[in-house]
């Protein structure tokens, strides 16, 4: 009896996971992920303003934000990040992959906070819970814009695009291992030797070279840097 109940709960669990996976595969489920990601990125800027760590933006953009905060002049930053955000929001639905670097990390984590600060709405970023809520709202608005642009896009190419992307992805996969090894050998011989050994071991085990190449280069290079 107990065993029966157990297998039933396991079945229910698997069933729930399948349902959740299928639901989140729907086009409109983009809203869920955008709200989560934007809430996190926007609240990350609250952490940055308070503790000087934890900004999700690219290093160079974070340095720009710091400079703008010090001078309390946001115009240059707003122009740069705002343009980037809009360009990525238009590009996303066009190609099917939203670049989260320009849109979420630069736009939502730096551009929009700068906009709020320049208008004097500091409270939005001073309060942690409020920053999460505002971030989630931003994610909602952006994902609705993306979904509307997608509605206008001419349809009917089926799965061809996905097939092409997968094909090109496989080509890239074959290049990556050797390129890591070339970079390691260009850096210095010890790191290169580590990547050669790691790559060879991975190939012998029938795994892609990349894992062993990186690990080998890091371990050997690190030991080298300790000795010399």
């Amino acid at each position: 009896m107990a065993e029966n109940n157990l297998s039933q709960t396991i079945d229910e669990k698997v069933d729930f996971r399948d349902k959740a996976n299928n639901f989140l595969m729907k086009d409109n489920a983009l809203i869920v992920f955008m709200m989560l990601a934007c809430a996190g990125a926007f609240a990350g800027t609250h952490i940055f303003l308070k503790y000087h760590t934890g900004s999700f933006s690219t290093t160079s953009v974070t340095v720009m934000l710091k400079g703008a905060l010090d001078k309390e002049n946001y115009s240059a930053l707003l122009g740069f990040t705002g343009g980037f955000l809009l360009a990525r929001i238009l590009e996303g639905p066009l190609v099917g992959i939203l670049d989260i670097g320009g849109s979420i990390m630069t736009g939502v984590a730096t551009g929009l906070p700068a906009l709020f600060l320049s208008m004097g709405y500091n409270i939005v970023l001073d309060n942690f819970l409020l920053s999460i809520l505002v971030g989630a709202c931003i994610g909602f608005v952006l994902s609705v814009i993306i979904l509307i642009v997608r509605k206008f896009m001419p349809k009917g190419y089926g799965s061809l695009g996905t097939d092409v992307m997968m094909g090109a992805g496989n080509i890239i996969g074959e290049w990556f291992g050797p390129i890591i090894m070339l970079a390691a050998l260009k850096y210095n011989f010890v790191a290169g030797l580590g990547s050669i050994i790691g790559g060879a071991i991975c190939h012998e085990k029938g795994k892609p070279l990349i894992g062993g190449a990186i690990l080998g280069a890091m371990i050997f290079g690190w030991i080298f840097s300790l000795i010399f």
């Binding site: 983009l30 869920v32 099917g96 989260i100 080509i171 990556f176 890091m218 290079g221 690190w222």
Partner: protein, 234 residues
């Protein structure tokens, strides 16, 4: 300190779940809107569903991100672009060892929440404890290799896929890929669009309503993107 840890866990879990779930959807793009980047897709493809490859690729960037966090307070874009998607994939693969699992958004989102919470909290509190030698190796080996993949390996791979797909796919991949290199900074999205538009021309002819609509839609979007990136002035 305690409030920084609590906030880091919350923020990392939110952003990690969103980004990893969005990354799982990339494998079905352009039919479904994915989130990430073409380079993230390329790098994840490069690890070929091997949990160790995904893990070590992400690990390389933990060291460089730690250096950035200590230096500037920025976690660096690698946390959401590379560490979260690849470590989530590694976690999902380690659990059920099926290559197609990394395309399941719910599983990836759960893994992403765990990875995001751990990585963000670690970087915000303990980044300065990482030995400097490790971050130098990551900067000198993994970063240049990843840059080489983004330019020129990836655009060329998509471009060749277009040229091999047929005459019109090749012509339009060349035109839009070249323009995208200037307008978006990388030819890859343009090559993909060129292939899709070219397929439409091959299927229904250059003067068909669908082909004209597709090509003019891409052209208008390219102009708008160029405007917002400050490349053309009106």
């Amino acid at each position: 300190m305690i409030d920084l840890i609590i906030k880091s866990v919350i923020v990392g879990a939110l952003a990690g779940a969103g980004v990893a779930g969005g990354a799982a959807r990339m494998f079905s793009a352009p039919e479904i809107q994915g989130m990430g980047a073409f380079r993230t897709l390329g790098e994840m493809d490069a690890c070929k569903g091997d949990p160790i490859a995904h893990f070590t690729f992400g690990l390389g960037f933990v060291f460089s991100s730690a250096a950035s966090t200590v230096g500037t307070g920025s976690l660096s874009s690698d946390v959401l672009h590379r560490i979260v998607p690849n470590w989530s994939a590694s976690l999902v693969l380690a659990r059920d060892n099926k290559k197609e699992s990394i395309a399941k958004p719910f599983d990836m989102a759960i893994a992403g929440a765990i990875v995001g919470a751990v990585v963000v909290t670690f970087l915000n509190t303990l980044a300065s404890s990482i030995p400097k030698g490790m971050s130098v190796i990551a900067e000198k080996v993994v970063t240049p290799a990843a840059d080489m993949i983004i330019m020129p390996v990836m655009p060329v791979a998509f471009w060749l896929a277009g040229l091999n797909a047929g005459k019109w796919q090749g012509i339009l991949a060349t035109i839009f890929g070249g323009l995208a290199q200037y307008i978006m900074g990388n030819a890859t999205p343009g090559c993909v669009l060129g292939i899709l538009a070219g397929q439409s021309v091959e299927d229904s002819g250059l003067s068909s309503k669908r082909s004209i609509a597709f090509i003019s839609f891409i052209s208008i979007m390219f102009l708008l993107i160029a405007y917002f990136r400050g490349l053309i002035k009106f």
